[in-house]
Amino acid sequence: MSWAPNDLARELLAQSLIAWRVAGSVERASDGALVIGGIRKDIRIDRAQPHLMFRWMVTVDGRKRGAVSLVAVLRQVREALDPGYAANRVRIAVAPLVPSQ
């Protein structure tokens, strides 16, 4: 994966805005970061520095937070766009990811 967020990440964010019925757009900044425009907040998504434990950095109105995955990026962006959004994040059961042989 290249250093800057790739086109797939951009497409995912753009499709997510449509799915959430948010009238915004996802643009690429000159440094490669993704910037969500057309909304009342400044949201920017960068790849995190390699020495950090995060893969992504999400900056909302100047406040920077790490995100470990694209799923976490989506969660942060949606929370920024929709303060009333309550993510369904309860996960209780521990189940094997693959079958026991």
């Binding site: 994966m1 797939l8 799923v71 989506l74 189940a95 990811l97 079958p99």
Partner: protein, 339 residues
């Protein structure tokens, strides 16, 4: 003690659509003899159970309210009690359970109960959703009743009733059903009479052969035919992947769907080729924000080893689902363990 896995079929359909009449005839068929029936009636005075002739110890009436909104715990408790009586030989041996919902029931929470209640999961498997539709009034009901749309959308089989009275209404209704759920075969009941083997062979698990039939369960939409439904909000489509999917990618994908779509995933079912388990595919099943832990088949049911996931959604675009899975898969593939 007999601890076979028992399929539970859900018989649903809007008020007056002929569920009870059909069930009464089905129970008279030899193939249906070993069936326990749970009837959910809405209201103070239940009548449906009076219309069903079945041995008393295999017929249970749930009268405390509508299954979908009030008594999910009652349903789980009832099923649990039924299994215990069966295990202790205190009732007629049954190898199938049918739950007849009230006409106003949303089938989704009932499906969720079957998938998630720890006291019954493992003993019971979803045997399919059968939805009756009144051929005379069905089109109008679909037009105006959201619950009716949902009952049709999640069906594995649709049974038309009152066809003798329908006339020209039948063709209109068939078009509407095609728009709402093209994947489910449409059968016809003649005054409630229908072959039970056609109706209740729609689930993942076939009690006759004691085997799984994934292809029949996934139905037509799993083969890549996206269907636009009349209600622009409700759509059915299938995601097909040639390449195996990493286990963690599937987990993240399902979590993201549950988190962002919640109740708008009316139903999801599929067979997935997991990278770490190439010979044992995962069968996944979800209703709204609840996903059943994957069931692992012993082998692939056919030479087709593609992952196929069928979605029935409300206002969730196929484009978003496709790119979500692709992006997560690519990110996971970039992890050192997969490089």
């Amino acid at each position: 003690m007999n601890t076979d896995v028992i399929p539970v079929s859900i018989l649903t359909g809007f008020l007056g659509s002929g569920k009870t009449t059909m069930l009464r005839h089905l129970l008279g068929q030899p193939e249906f003899a070993r069936t326990a029936v749970i009837i959910n009636e809405f209201g103070e005075i239940g009548l449906d159970h009076e219309l069903i002739e079945a041995s008393e110890d295999s017929l249970i009436e749930l009268q405390t309210g509508c299954l979908c909104c009030k008594i999910r715990t009652d349903l789980a408790q009832t099923l649990s009690d039924l299994l215990r009586r069966r295990d202790e030989d205190r009732c007629a041996l049954f190898d199938r359970i049918v739950i007849e919902t009230s006409g106003l029931a949303d089938p989704a929470p009932i499906l969720q109960t079957l998938m998630t209640d720890t006291t019954i999961a493992g003993r019971l498997v979803l045997g399919g959703v059968v939805t009756t539709v009144d051929a005379v009034n069905g089109a109008a009901t679909l037009e105006h009743e959201g619950i009716s749309q949902k009952q049709v959308a999640v069906a594995d089989r649709i049974v038309l009733t009152k066809l003798d009275l329908a006339g020209l209404a039948k063709s209109v209704l068939l078009r509407r059903l095609e728009e709402f759920n093209a994947g489910a075969p449409v059968l016809a009941a003649n005054h409630g009479r229908i072959d039970s083997r056609l109706v209740f062979s729609s689930g993942l698990y076939d009690p006759q052969t004691k085997s799984t039939d994934v292809n029949a369960w996934l139905a037509e939409e799993a083969h890549g035919h996206a269907r636009a439904r009349h209600d622009a909000d409700i759509k059915a489509y299938a995601i097909v992947r040639q390449e195996p999917i990493q286990a963690i990618a599937l987990t993240l994908f399902l979590e993201a769907l549950a988190e962002h779509c919640g109740d708008d995933i009316l139903r999801l079912k599929g067979i997935v080729n997991i990278l770490e388990s190439p010979n044992r595919p995962a069968v996944i099943h979800g209703v709204q924000h609840v996903f059943h832990p994957p069931a692992w088949l012993d082998r692939w049911p056919s030479d087709d080893r593609r992952s196929r996931i069928v979605f029935i959604t409300r206002r969730v675009s196929q484009g978003w689902v496709e790119v979500l899975l692709e992006a997560i898969g690519e990110e996971v593939a970039d992890l050192p363990v997969y490089r």
